[in-house]
Amino acid sequence: MGFAASVIFGLAALFAIAWALRTGARATFSGQARSLAHDIPLTASFGLLVIAIYTFVAIAAPILAPFPEREIVGGQFQAWSAAHPLGTDRIGRDMLSRLIYGARNTVGIAFATTALAFVVGAILGLWAALVGGWLDQALSRFVDALMAIPALIFSLLLLTIFGTSVLTLILVIAAVDATRVFRLARAVAQGIVVMDYIEAAKLRGEGSWFLIRREILPNAMAPLVAEFGLRFCFVFLAISSLSFLGLGIQPPTADWGSMVKDNATLITFGDVTPLLPAGCIALLTVAVNFVVDWQLHRASGLKEQ
């Protein structure tokens, strides 16, 4: 009972703070920033607030965490207490500290992976659509071949070959995800490259990079932004499942996905602690999607009905 109530209370408090900050922003800013603050829906300001808190926690983790990330500081599965606010895990590490460090590891890796997948996938996709011909054929068929292999098995294969460091993890998941982004970017751009303004820019003698950056990308932004929100959540899942299989983020590094798995037995005893890392993931994905929805709305020029 107390847990459910505190969750509801916590969310309500976040919404209240977001509302207060938005009102404050409307009053303080002027010019462009003000109209931005005026347009922003409450859900998006909530999302921005949550993202800001996560970012702060990730950066300031060593200051905020009461105990070190990897040190055994107590007994196994200790209950919530004053010394260990969220208890300890199955080998006696402080849950709260690991949760805080997890923000740094999980969110950082997921964000870097998604960003990398988007930069690579979008640029290649737009380029393939723009140039067409054999380049498009070569890139698209290569991507088809990659997509034909189940993503998880493919990642496992690559991780086994290249070893399991954080860097290879990022590169491997980004490579797998970039194929999906490539498909989307290419499909969207194919509708754009036939427009007269692209022909006009080609007649002007513009190079491919300018065409991609200034003429195509701004018009392909809306679906790409929407996809970003979705991909970000999928990357969390991918990292968690790889961790579960032992090829993801390696222990003793704290990671929300493996924290759920490691402490899952507690649930049978009516303890909600293992749900907390899962809740952290859920809250962040909802927050990211709130912000993405808002950006999508702005980019596509849709008006409220």
Partner: protein, 540 residues
């Protein structure tokens, strides 16, 4: 009149959503239509013609609402009637023909399936009857192969035929009223005649009343018994067609009538060497030949009009000149030197000299870039302008095209009207400081008053900068207004070319004759006379 009143609209007011609030777009229009009568509704874009037309069916578009007045259709108040009753009327007693038949047909179904849908739903006739009836109507609309055409898909039928099939579809339940919303605007002059004649005949034969919405006066003069002129949601005047054409009362109506009077001063024949010369060019898309031994010259300070219907190769000629489509044989000479055939082989300066303005300003301007960048980019790229010099140049260009720099410099294309967008297209071409501008149907998507403004602007810029224009068009009225030389093309060949005066005096090549006679005239008897002539010609 003495005839029975079919539709009576009184004090109609319609509001449209504008940002946060609502603005009135139809401001108290009265309209009376008798049975079997055709009313022409004309005005420039934004006059509220289409909105009034839809309101006659008791319908308001998304983002619009009817706020006042009454709409009485055969004694039924369409504003008070429940939605079910209005839906029972639509398609059965009131039908609608949209501007673009190509966009209004569902591409996934055969024509006859779409035809039969309405009469079967309304329970007017069975599927078999409807199919028989469709064939009969297709025949009366003079569609080729009336038995077979219904079993084709929309993309297998030409634009003019689709528009006639759409009219046949509207006639399916023999409605009392048909609303035609610019049914011929998107068509070629020669196709327009066929559709116009077919629409007029079927409406007269079946005694259907019609509201004919258009911005082209000459067209409405052929079909309407009465004409009503609208301006920004207000009525300007209404009169019988002949009376309206002979003696318009209001100044605004007179100005509409006078639009076609703009003409560029006669130029003496060109004597200097051509700035650009197309020499024996043939070109093909893959294996399909599109240009066959085409030659013509473009002189500095002069306008050459390239005329022909769709598919005649006029736009392809422009693609060869710009280098988008390398010719299979022949050369394009610029200033006495041959231009490299492909875009990639040309230097930046060669690219700068030939600029292009497109038909659809909507797709020719990147919707996500501000005017500052749209216009500034060519100046920055070709002339190396930066910072303050660039800003000054952009402002000068906006001044040149008669848009206020302070208001417009940071706007997006979506915040401009159609005519203003086309002006931005012109400014972008000018920014490169070219010698030649290719204008590809630049006025055909605009209504007449806006068209005239664009033509005047182009003419002024030509005098100011000594530009050469290559004007691609199918509209001979535009040719008359601004051309110095004319090239007539058909099926990839040049049929006839010479100075304008020569082109507009007989004798003509048969194809030129057909094009010339297809331009609607401001005379209600023009279409009747034209059809009589062509029948007589066929008889001999």
């Amino acid at each position: 009149m003495g005839r029975e009143v079919l539709l009576k609209i009184e004090g109609l007011r319609i509001e449209g959503r504008a940002g946060e609030g609502w603005t009135e777009i139809v401001k108290g229009i009265d309209l009376t239509l008798h049975k079997g009568e055709v009313l022409g509704l004309i005005g420039e874009s934004g006059a509220g013609k289409s909105t009034v037309g839809l309101a006659a069916m008791g319908f308001a578009r998304d983002g619009c609402r009817i706020t006042g007045g009454s709409i009485l259709f055969d004694g039924i108040d369409l504003r008070q009637a429940p939605e079910a009753e209005r839906r029972a009327l639509r398609g059965k007693r009131i039908a609608y023909v949209a501007q673009s038949a190509a966009a209004s047909f569902n591409p996934a179904h055969k024509l006859i399936d779409q035809y039969c849908e309405t009469p079967v739903i309304h329970g007017v006739m069975s599927r078999e009857q409807a199919e028989k009836d469709a064939t009969d109507l297709y025949r009366r609309m003079q569609l080729p192969d009336p038995e077979g055409i219904g079993f084709r898909y929309p993309h297998q039928v030409s634009g003019g035929q689709l528009q006639r099939a759409m009219t046949a579809m509207a006639m399916a339940c023999r409605p009392d009223l048909i609303i035609f919303d610019e049914p011929t605007t998107a068509l070629d002059v020669t196709t327009q005649i066929e559709v116009l004649a077919a629409i007029r005949d079927i409406v007269r034969q079946s005694g259907t009343a019609a509201i004919y919405i258009t911005h082209d006066l000459a067209v409405v003069a052929q079909a309407a018994d009465r004409i009503k002129v609208l301006l920004r949601g207000d009525e300007v005047e209404e009169a019988e067609t002949r009376q309206m054409l002979d003696a318009p009362r209001e100044d605004y109506t007179k100005s509409l009538w006078a639009v076609r009077s703009f003409a560029r001063a006669e130029q003496p024949p060109a004597t200097d060497a051509p700035i650009l010369s197309v020499q024996n060019v043939s070109a093909a898309y893959g294996k399909v030949p599109v240009l066959d031994d085409v030659s013509f010259d473009i002189h500095a300070g002069r306008t050459i009009a390239v005329v022909g219907e769709s598919g005649s190769g006029k736009s392809t000629a422009a693609r060869v000149i710009t280098g988008l489509l390398p010719p299979s044989s022949g050369t394009v000479m610029f200033d006495g030197k041959p231009l490299p055939p492909a875009l990639k082989g040309r230097t930046r300066d060669q690219l700068r000299q030939v600029q292009m303005i497109y038909q659809m300003a909507d797709t020719a301007l990147n919707p996500k870039l501000k005017l500052r960048e749209l216009i500034g980019r060519p100046a920055q790229m070709y002339l190396g302008l930066q910072g303050k010099a660039l800003e000054t140049r952009i402002r000068d260009l906006l001044d040149l095209i008669e848009l206020d720099p302070d208001t417009y410099i940071d706007r997006l294309p979506g915040e401009l009207s159609g005519g203003q967008k086309q002006r931005i297209g012109i400014a972008r071409a000018l920014a490169a400081e070219p010698k030649i501008i290719i204008c590809d149907e630049v006025t055909s998507a605009l209504d007449q008053i806006v068209q005239e403004g664009i033509l005047k602007l182009l003419n002024r810029l030509q005098d100011e900068f000594g530009l050469a224009y290559m004007f691609i068009t199918h509209d001979l009225a535009t040719v008359r207004a601004i051309a110095d030389d004319v090239v007539v093309m058909q099926r990839g060949r040049v049929i006839e070319q010479g100075p304008k005066a020569q082109m507009f005096t007989p004798p003509h090549e048969p194809y030129t004759e057909l094009l010339l006679s297809s331009v609607p005239e401001m005379d209600p008897d023009w279409l009747t006379r034209l059809l009589a002539n062509s029948r007589a010609a066929m008889g001999t």
